[in-house]
Each structure stands twice: as C-alpha cells, then as structure tokens.
Symmetry: none
Subunit: 230 residues, 3 copies
C-alpha cells in the first residue's frame, strides 16, 4: 500500500501472458483468486522473487472454501520440483492439516475452513525442526518435523492443484474450490506477534519470497482474478 | 436518522392504504416487520425509489427466524415480474442459501439463521459474474453466477411469500415466519468494509433502490409493523 | 522483562546439566517446552526457589495440546514426595480437570484444551478450603477441598509424566504431549483481577515458588526447549 500510495505504482498483473494495469488507487486494493469449480486443469502459478532454497519459512494466506465439510483432501499450496513434492500444505480428508516436505508429513488439528476467510500461516525451521500453524493469529502447538532438512530450489509453486509429476497429473478430487488471497512467504520464521499483526491487516514485513502486493501470477484455466477494495 | 434529526421529518408509513405518522424522534427509531404465523396470504410489498433495472446490486436485511432448523424452504426476498422470478433470495430446505435470477440458482453454505438477528447481505455484479453473501459483516466466498445478465424492470418486490405467478399462488410452506428489518438495496456492489460498517450500525450509504428509513411499505394480511428504538 | 531490560541479565538455562546462555534481548523472550511424542521417559524437572511447604498456592501455566479430543488422562503438573502425590493437576479421561493432594481429588468442568494456548491457573487455600480454576482469565466456581491440609516439603516437581513412585513408574498413556510455557507458582492465592492481568501478559507479581523467567529446568528425554519472542 505504501508503494501504491507513494509512487502511484501501476502494479502489473500477468494473466494468460497478457499484462493488465490497475489504476493507481486512492484506497488499498488487493487481488483475490476465485476457483469456481472442481476440475483437474485450473491453477495459478506464483512467480517467486527469489529462489526457494530455504532452511526455514513462513507461509501465509487468507483462504475460504465450502469444501471443508466434505470428506476429501484439499490442496492449499504446492511447491514441486522435478521429482519431489518439496513443500505441500493440505487439508486432509479427515479434517487435519498437513505439511509435507519430500516424504511423510506432519499433521495438526485445527478449526475447519469455511465460507468466511481464515488467515492461515505455517512456519517451519530446520534448526529446531519446529513446525506450527497459526489460525486467525493464534498459534497451534509446535511439532517436531524434519530438523536439518532443506527445501530445494528449482521447482514451481502453484495454487489450486496438486501435481503428481512436474506440473502434471492433477486430480480434480484434490483441487481447491473457493477463494485464496494475500499469499505471502518468507524464508524465515516470523514471531507469533508479527503473525497476529498480519492477521489484523498489518502489511509488514513484506514477504521476501512472495509478496502478494507485487507478485506475478500466471493463471491457467478457470480461475477468476478479482480486485477488491480493502 | 440524519433526515429525521435535521428535518424533523414525519416519516409516512402506508399500512392497508392508511397513512400513519411517527412523531419526530429524539432517538433513532426503526420499523420492523413481524410475520407471526405460517400462512399463504401475508406479505409486505416494498415500493422502490427507482426501477430495478440492474446490472449489479447489494441487498441487505436483518432477519431472525426459528424456522431455520426445520426442513423447509424459506423465502427471504422475492422480486417477480410477470413471467419471471427476477431476483429471489432463499434459505433452502437443505440449509444452503440460494440466489435465483430467472432460472437456476447459485448456493452458499452459511451459518444457520436463528432467533437472534442476523445481518445478511447479498451482492452480485454482472460484469464479473461474482456473487457473495455477507453474514454479520463477514463475506462468504465469491461464486460465479450469470455474468452478463441483467435484472429486468417492471415487477414487484415482496417479503413473506414466494409468488409462483405475478403476486399470486403463494405456498404457506415457503412463507417467512419471524422478523425482518433494515432492508436496503443498492444498484451497485458495496465494498466488504462498507458492509461491515452497515452491520455494526453505520447508516451510509443509503440504499438508492430501497432505503429502510423512508421506504413505503404496503402490508397485506397478518404482518405486524413494530417501531423500535435503536 | 523488566529484569531483562534493566540489567541485561543473562538468563541461565540448564538443559541436560549443561548451562546455556541467552544473549541479553532487546525484545522479551520466553522459553517454551515442546513434548513431541507420547512416551514414558520424557519429562522436565522444575527447580523451586523455595520449599513447597504450603498452606495455599496459585499455579499458572500456558498449555496447548491436541490430546484433549482423545479419551485418556493427561498429567499437567506433578509434585511428588517419596510416598505421596502431594499436588497433581490432571485433565481426566472424562474431560474434567482434577486437583489431587495426597488422596482423593476435586474435579471441575472446564473448556477443552486445544492446539491453541490456554492460560490455566489453579488456586487453593487451606484456611477456607476453597479451590478454583481460572481459564484464560475467567474463574470457575469455587469448590471445597481439604480445608486445614498442608502441602509437604521434600519432593520434586515435574512436567510431562506422572510418577507412580518417586520419579519412576511412568505410564506413556498419562504423559503430556504438546506445549507448556509460562509456569509460575506462588505460595498464596492471587486475586481474580491479578490472574486476569497475568492472562493478558502482565508479569507481576513474579512467582515466589516458580518464576518462569528465571526458573532452572532439568530436561530428561525427548523434550525440546524453544525460546520464543513475545
């Protein structure tokens, strides 16, 4: 918003390879991704600002879905390299939330997603091996997960589908249906207080891997990009 | 309230063709419609300020009912032209909420209505085709519905009954039982922040299709018009 | 925090008998104990500042666990002398919370623990015999429990396991799994207002039996000591 206000910046949004300008806004605006239907071909690629070569991370998003009451998995975030699911975040069929980095996952019992926006963050640190979710600013218990592990560079991040091979082999029964916005990622762990501040609308620190205000999005298939006033 | 205070306006309320004056109030007052019993003949017609010739709208109301836990449909708002249900809002028998414009509807999973007042808003925009509900200030996911469609002029808006033909053929098992107040409508989409402000009591922007403070109501059958202090 | 800020104190943290220094922090830091897995060998001994020779007490902690949805007991605090469970705090299998001092317990119906932190305090006074829990600053009803009783000196306090004999005979099905922090104990009863203030982050009065900011911890087995920013 600071950038937008101070510089009258024309944020460039890449959709289907076409660049679209948003007029410099008096009021803060935010893009939101609407995934209207279950299918196996619609997804949005997020172009990172720097390599996902990470010994720690914080991943945040605002997410709303009516799928949660169902009995199927929902992919929330997928970072896939050629041979590995490097960093996937799931809502499991049994209602738990899972983090998977190249193999077995770690699971959390959190409140159900619903048609209203939930602010969801996930943190992990290689040194301590501690992983935790934050739901609307409140942290879950920490769980030990893959201390010493590193997230590898060289893949692609997508929302909406789970690639079983490199950006292919999608399964409609794992697809995301609903709305996702404000996806930000850092290559370090934010404090509980910082995440609570983000939840209530503070916009710093800006993500150094993904910063939703300036992020380049590549949309594939039936995904609607809405610009909403904040 | 601004009008009331500044001008000491005697708001005119038309009931059964008889005009009734409310004394200019020191405190803000608001009319509320009580539908005491299930039947097929009681309803309130809302007289619009301008034609319902709309490529977008926001419809808000405060509604309370104990029917919601039952297993039947509840009509919440009906705008009927001679041959079409131009814009109907329903609580479906399965608990979902539906918007219908001249044909198939779009459905949302929202919290159940209950004996306490729920502030309910519904927005739709022809350009994007995005429809969404707001429940007590919180927006649901957006759903794609009839992009390019227009709501047609020339019908009547009623609360309490669903007309299967032009203001006839009511079904008591679809009637509304409970209390409705603060019905406002705009021919554009209000922002999330504006709707949250309305929820907590802000009274601007005033509805340009229906403005509850000055709206003309035509009551038919067993509907009680209460004036309550705010 | 006051101490830390004013004196640049190097708090000493004893883990596995090794002393580890935390650099004097600009921001307040707090240690948190993560018990990652159910087992019968992991626990943390809390070294008291003075003898647990008490005719009254207040015991507070912040606790998060995903075990609560299960059907087993969870030990929350155990003070064991050679022959007696002097002061144990439990989440019972039936969901109630129990206080046990050398014999039969007293039980309370409180909200379930969950993956988010709950601030839990327990008070008891020998003179009146009144015992009560405080959950996130709100006090339960008071219950009569062992008026005239005294807590005896000469035992050890541990978190994570229930010793059926003096620091032995642990049962994995009673162990704690999750996260505990901010454990403080006083040999008197704090007022409701003081406990509410502690809940929202006030740090006085400091515990005179256990003061979490300076407490010496002796860790056994698989327990992770995290230092978090407040």
């Amino acid at each position: 918003m600071a950038l937008w206000d101070k510089m009258g910046l024309l944020a460039t949004l890449l959709i289907f390879g076409v660049s679209l300008s948003l007029a410099s806004a008096e009021r803060p605006m935010r893009r939101s991704l609407v995934f209207p239907k279950e299918n196996d071909n619609s997804y949005v690629e997020l172009v990172p600002q720097k390599d996902l070569d990470m010994g720690a991370f914080t991943l945040c998003m605002r997410v709303a879905t009516e799928l949660a009451k169902g009995n199927r998995e929902i992919i929330l975030f997928a970072y896939r390299t050629l041979y590995y699911d490097e960093l996937n975040m799931w809502r499991e069929a049994d209602g738990r939330y899972g983090l998977f980095m190249s193999g077995e996952g770690v699971f959390f019992h959190l409140p159900e997603l619903n048609t209203f926006q939930t602010h969801l963050c996930l943190t992990w640190d290689s040194k301590s091996g501690m992983a935790a979710f934050h739901v609307d600013g409140k942290r879950s218990i920490r769980k030990m997960y893959k201390p010493g592990h590193k997230v590898q560079n060289g893949g692609k991040v997508i929302l909406g589908q789970d690639p079983d091979s490199f950006l292919k082999d999608f399964d409609s029964k794992q697809s995301f249906v609903g709305e996702i916005t404000d996806v930000n990622m850092w290559d370090y762990v934010l404090s509980d207080a910082m995440i609570e501040a983000l939840h209530v609308g503070k916009r710093i620190p800006r993500g150094n891997i993904f910063d939703w205000e300036t992020i380049e999005l590549i949309v594939n298939g039936n995904v609607k990009v809405i610009t909403e006033e904040l």
